[in-house]
Amino acid sequence: MTENKIESVENELVENFALFDTWDEKYEYIIDLGKKLDQLPQEYKTAERKIKGCQSSVWLVSELKEGLVHFTADSDSVIVKGLVSLLIKVLSEKTPDVILNANLDFMSKIGLMQHLAQTRSNGLLAMVKQMKLDAMAYKSQQV
């Protein structure tokens, strides 16, 4: 897994979003992604897995398989679920190093940061932070 791989996924997302003329279409796409994301089994929705900083509940689960971090997530907000699914598309099944070094330019390129109000952006940043923290924990286990 290389840095380029992450960038190609990011570029694909940026291109997909560029197809939409209106914010309604972008939201519809995000919501659609959210609806498609698998639901987490109820037993995973614990307080420890809940990400703080979001108005809605977001649960993030990660595991290390053969050197790659696999992320799954769920939320009671379908928009937040769509947003977290974007992050999963980009960051899941990558090495801890790739995750830690990802600068996630795509979020600003598709206008996510500008168009989501501060509290919502904070939630998104909290998700990124948690994904990177998980990656860091796996990295330290590997050493």
Partner: protein
């Protein structure tokens, strides 16, 4: 036509007084329904802020020069206007604070710390804002006093029978909200106060949500303390009020020490200033205090009956609109309520409602509204809340209806 000659009023004319209502949000005209969080400001309030800094900025009360005297006079005019607004018997019982939060903390930390003892009881209600919960928890923990909570029914009304059973000779303070920010319920505060007085307790009323909707008469209510936040009734942020009865304020120790609140200071002993200055340490929020008067005058010019009637029409229209959707549930259906509609949509998180409505230029509040125990009571994480003010229109409520259709289309 002068404003005060209108019965119900010319809404187009009113809307022109609020510059922000011309804003477009996400390409759509702003529909501002987050009035319970803060109301928008009329041009007269905005102008007062500007002209204070342009024509009379000076530190008040001690200055000997003309500017200081002018600023002091304007500042004290607001105190007199607030006195009249809430029918306080005297203007020196009006203490300026930053808002209800500071007012509650002042009473808890000054009156509570001086007079609460271990085993005493403080009564609040299930529908309190965190600002009327946490200050009491803090002082109760410190003093070994016990916090008791008046429960509510499913409509969001206080259970007055339960209140009766909570009251006893151990009750020292009752602190309840006049109008619920999350539900819109108007509480029977006059009755609450009378019953507390029978057991010798003092009563604090959080009037944050009441002031924009109705007359307040602290003497008729017989309130011991009454708190206001200026920004909730067309004034600036950062300025609020604590009213207190003289015999209580007189025996309370100062809350903060500093300039302005003293008579004489030596390193051996300090004597404190008279009311209200005893509780106004430091240079106050002069500009916002001066502009607050313009906000009150704006409401007075329209007339409180006309405002209440207008908001009642909006509330009825919104309630009808919301109940027409089978998936929408209104949270807070009290018999007596102000123009606040909290609602949930089956299967849709409140945050998604807020985001999708925002894309239509409609500003509502979503979440727990700083009333987490109340949300727990209803077993929900939060609600979407639309709250209406004197400048809102039925057409805007219809826009909200269309917005909800979009929410259902996209997020269900």
């Amino acid at each position: 036509m002068a404003l005060d000659t209108l019965l119900l009023y010319d809404i187009d004319k009113i809307r022109k007084d609020f510059p922000i209502l011309n804003e477009r949000i996400n390409g759509k005209p702003l529909v501002y329904f987050d009035n319970a969080a803060t109301t928008q400001k009329p041009a007269s309030v905005i102008l007062a802020l500007k002209s204070y800094y342009e024509t009379m900025n000076a530190n008040i009360h001690r200055g000997i020069h003309s500017l200081a005297e002018k600023a002091t006079a304007e500042y004290e005019l607001t105190r007199e206007k607030v006195r009249e607004f809430i029918n306080s018997p005297a203007s020196d019982l009006i203490i300026f604070t930053r808002g209800v939060t500071e007012s509650v903390n002042l009473v808890a930390q000054s009156y509570g710390r001086a007079f609460l003892k271990a085993g005493d009881e403080v009564i609040i209600s299930t529908m309190e804002h965190h600002s009327n919960i946490v200050p009491w928890q803090m002082i109760c923990n410190e003093k070994g006093a016990i916090l008791k909570v008046i429960p509510i029914n499913d409509a969001g009304e206080l259970l007055m029978d339960e209140y009766d059973t909570l009251l006893s000779s151990r009750t020292k303070i009752v602190s309840v909200v006049h109008v619920s920010n999350a539900l819109g319920t108007i509480n029977p505060v006059k009755e609450i106060i009378a019953k507390a007085h029978e057991v010798g307790a003092v009563v604090m009323i959080d009037g944050a949500q009441a002031a924009s909707h109705s007359y307040i008469d602290v003497q008729d209510l017989d309130a011991d303390f009454y708190a206001l936040s200026g920004h909730k009734f067309y004034g600036p942020t950062g300025i609020g009020v604590l009213y207190g009865k003289r015999e209580l304020l007189d025996k309370m120790p100062p809350y903060m020490g500093g300039g302005e609140m003293i008579k004489e200071v030596s390193f051996a002993k300090t004597t404190y200033n008279d009311l209200p200055y005893k509780f106004e340490a430091g240079t106050p929020n002069i500009a916002d205090t001066i502009a607050l008067r313009k906000g009150i005058e704006y409401m007075e010019a329209i007339g409180f009956e006309a405002i209440a009637e207008h908001e009642h029409v909006l509330l009825a229209h919104a309630t009808n609109m919301l109940t027409s959707f089978p998936d929408v549930k209104i949270i807070g259906t009290a018999n007596q309520k102000v123009s606040v509609c909290s609602f949930t949509i089956e299967g849709v998180h409140p945050q998604d409602i807020g985001i999708i409505l925002d894309s239509e230029g409609i500003a509502i509040r979503t979440g727990h509204h700083c009333t987490q125990p109340l949300m727990d009571r209803f077993g929900i994480p939060g609600t979407a809340r639309a709250s209406f003010a004197l400048y809102n229109t039925k057409e805007e409520v219809d826009q909200l209806g269309k917005g909800i259709e979009k929410v259902l289309r996209m997020a269900k």
